[in-house]
Symmetry: C2
Subunit: 464 residues, 2 copies
């Protein structure tokens, strides 16, 4: 945990943005795998971590805006719990570590909330994403599960997003650490991969690095020779000379902050000439995008810059044609780049995704309402501010099913050279991703440098 005054200050700042009533924060429960007592590793809710810092299941907290009090709801361990789980700090001690004044038994929460509902005072809550917490909200507020999210407090969502979006000094230390630990792990993977290995053997090294560093993976690793599958979690392929490995993985620090890095490297010692050409295009898009990062720039424009660089590069090698600007405006580049250039990062790898993309990545003036394939997957569009942390992750992905569908529809044939594209059907995909902090005047990459250029990567792979 951070020092206790940090949590007290965060809560004090939050209270200033809101009127009266109470703020209700639900921690996460244990999440069962195949029966109640066989649970996945525990992950606390990120907003709960941010304001209360306690990484234990089955807690809730209330901030009373009028009474100027924070209450933690939870239960102390029984002797049976101690036998099975070991002696830990008491809940009262944990509360004190987070500067929380008062602890009440978990069973009193329902009654506590009901008294506010009865008095018609506002009970602000955030949209729950776990079914256990949906069930609680549904029962306490007398709402059907489908109504719950619509009744979440927009005021609270906006206040939390405003606060969590701007990272404090101690958070930046954590995010630098997460990025550096993740870079170390990527370097190990880049050195260890050999033709003949199975993807899962490399994923095993990623898990080992995560556990040994004392944290967890911030998200399930994407480690694949089929880099065109954007969220691939299948690890059964055998690495073959001539293929590339795409490794999108990142560690989470003990305090819960995420790293999120991607590198693509050859299974053998060198990229093929075609792989190298396309790698250079993606690297140029990465460079053009990151060089733009600064306060006041809209991330939407960073994204469109990356798209234009990709399109220009694809034109240069004959896969696209026509005017770059027009092709990007029409969305033709999305044949090759189907997703967004980046997203906010912090306690979540897609920071605050549970609070809603519109609030986290857009504004009341910049509403996200596009249905354009590609652009609809851009999670961040708004103007950047000092303290924002985000990813830059352009890529080129050749997806045979998408070629077949668009070609059959004659879609964007003025911009896409389908005849030549057929020769690239089996190319797979390349992504390059780093994490950046927006500074007062500019930006900087988080964590240590990780081999990036073709020559840096081929130097590492030269020992294969």
């Amino acid at each position: 945990m951070f020092e206790k005054h940090i949590y007290a200050n965060r809560r004090a700042q939050l209270k200033k943005s809101l009127g009266s009533g109470i703020l209700l924060f639900l921690g996460n429960e244990e999440s069962p795998m195949n029966y109640k007592d066989n649970a996945y590793h525990f992950r606390q809710d990120s907003t709960f971590l941010y304001y209360f810092g306690i990484k234990e299941p089955a807690l809730a907290a209330v901030i009373d805006l009028d009474g100027d009090e924070t209450i933690l709801f939870g239960d102390e361990m029984s002797i049976d719990d101690i036998v099975w789980m070991g002696r830990q700090k008491t809940l009262t001690e944990k509360a004190s570590d987070a500067a929380i004044e008062r602890v009440l038994p978990a069973k009193e929460l329902h009654q506590y909330i009901s008294s506010y509902i009865t008095k018609k005072q506002k009970v602000h809550y955030l949209p729950p994403y776990r079914a256990e917490n949906k069930t609680k909200i549904s029962s306490w507020f007398g709402l059907s599960v489908s109504e719950i999210s619509n009744r979440a407090s927009i005021d609270l969502i906006k206040a939390v997003v405003a606060q969590r979006s701007v990272k404090s000094a101690e958070e930046i230390v954590q995010l630098d650490l997460a990025a550096s630990l993740s870079a170390d792990m990527h370097q190990v993977v880049m050195q260890a991969a050999r033709p003949g290995m199975y993807e899962r053997e490399i994923v095993a090294k990623i898990h080992q690095a995560a556990m040994a560093s004392g944290g967890q993976l911030a998200y399930p690793a994407i480690l694949t020779v089929h880099g065109q599958i954007l969220h691939n979690h299948y690890y059964g392929n055998q690495l073959q000379e001539g293929q590339m490995v795409l490794n999108d993985s990142g560690l989470e620090t003990e305090l819960g902050y995420a790293g999120d890095l991607t590198r693509t490297f050859p299974v053998g010692r060198q990229f093929t000439p075609v792989q190298k050409d396309i790698y250079e295009i993606v690297l140029q898009a990465y460079t053009d995008a990151k060089d733009l990062l600064a306060p006041g720039i809209r991330y939407l424009d960073v994204h469109l810059t990356a798209c234009r660089t990709l399109t220009q590069g694809l034109k240069d090698i004959g896969l696209m044609r026509g005017t770059v600007e027009d092709a990007v405006n029409a969305g033709a580049h999305a044949m090759f780049f189907q997703c967004g250039t980046g997203h906010m990062m912090g306690l979540d790898v897609h920071d605050m995704e549970d609070l809603g993309e519109q609030y986290v990545g857009y504004t009341d003036q910049l509403i996200k309402n596009t249905t354009q394939f590609g652009l609809k997957s851009l999670r961040l569009g708004k103007e950047l501010q000092p303290g924002y942390v985000l990813t830059v992750e352009p890529g080129i992905y050749i997806i045979p099913e998408l070629i077949d569908q668009w070609k059959a529809d004659n879609r964007f044939k003025e911009y896409i050279n389908y005849e030549r594209l057929e020769q690239f059907r089996e190319f797979t995909g390349i992504r390059i991703e780093d994490d950046f902090l927006i500074t007062e005047n500019n930006s900087r990459m988080l964590g240590k440098h990780l081999s990036l250029t073709v020559s840096e990567i081929e130097t590492i792979r030269s020992s294969v």
Copy 2:
């Protein structure tokens, strides 16, 4: 998956045990970590795996007892799904692999069930353990979440337990494999641990072994120098000469079958004399218990045998006193052995724990209703049958908090030598565990031999 006829035969056998109506089986959903789309690795429900074999989220299946039909409810992938997740077999192909005749869209399930409820025909379901499935049952059947489990079908629970308890030849192959892979992993850990390492570095090796073998861990690893904490998931201690490491971990095969092994070994090259004495007592209890395993023997008696051997050994070293039989009947041994000697195993490490301990581990004639500390944690009491797979896992655990509590109450002072026990306060704990199959006349250990005796273990550790 197994061959399709296996699933068809399992379902045909199940239908024979039940009357009319429909049998409803809910597969698992993705389980979110910190927001909806950042999920833990997917674990299918074990009963769903058993009858349908399909390891995909968001499926359900119905067996129509009257219409002689099995229907899979789920949705085919969209082009957006293919872009993000890659092309897979269609749902219809997957259904065909499990010999399921018919596939309907997921949204039709509610209507399908309602038509049976309206006709007042019986809809059998199993007690759900995940909140997502509780919510579905609650809404479809118009029950509050607290009523759901009481309305689960006892007939279906009993029929499923009867069938899943007796392992078939192809399941035994899987369970042998799970135990052998787990033994390999334990051997690696036993060779790798060194004074000065952190527990998490060893857990990292366990995770690596699990991933590299293509499966997962069957349960969160217990890897600790504080072996007295029965379900310890903290990995932050540094290994010190003179301590012991308790490693309770097991792999799950790709088809979902569990291994569950425990070994305790010295951080240095040798056990201390006291550690060795207590190890030998636990090993004797293990041997006496496993030698009893055969059809017709009640596991309760296996457990009580282990308890008596432990008590005799503790008497021999002066920690207990009085008559062994009386001490065990009174429950005084539970100061040192607070849990049960074993449990059923299969697709779950505690097999079918979601279906209820009374049905899985006891019978209508042998009702579990003890409140005695220790015995109340025995998950399996009933008579063994050929095909049962179970663990034998006695241990001795010295828990300072339990000493303080019982001593203050003067509890069992005729059987426990509290003065001498004070000298053992910091001893920690030892457990030895293997997996066994009940055969036609006898039993056999599953998987390959894993170093077990003091001399075998010290030989491995001699290279430290």
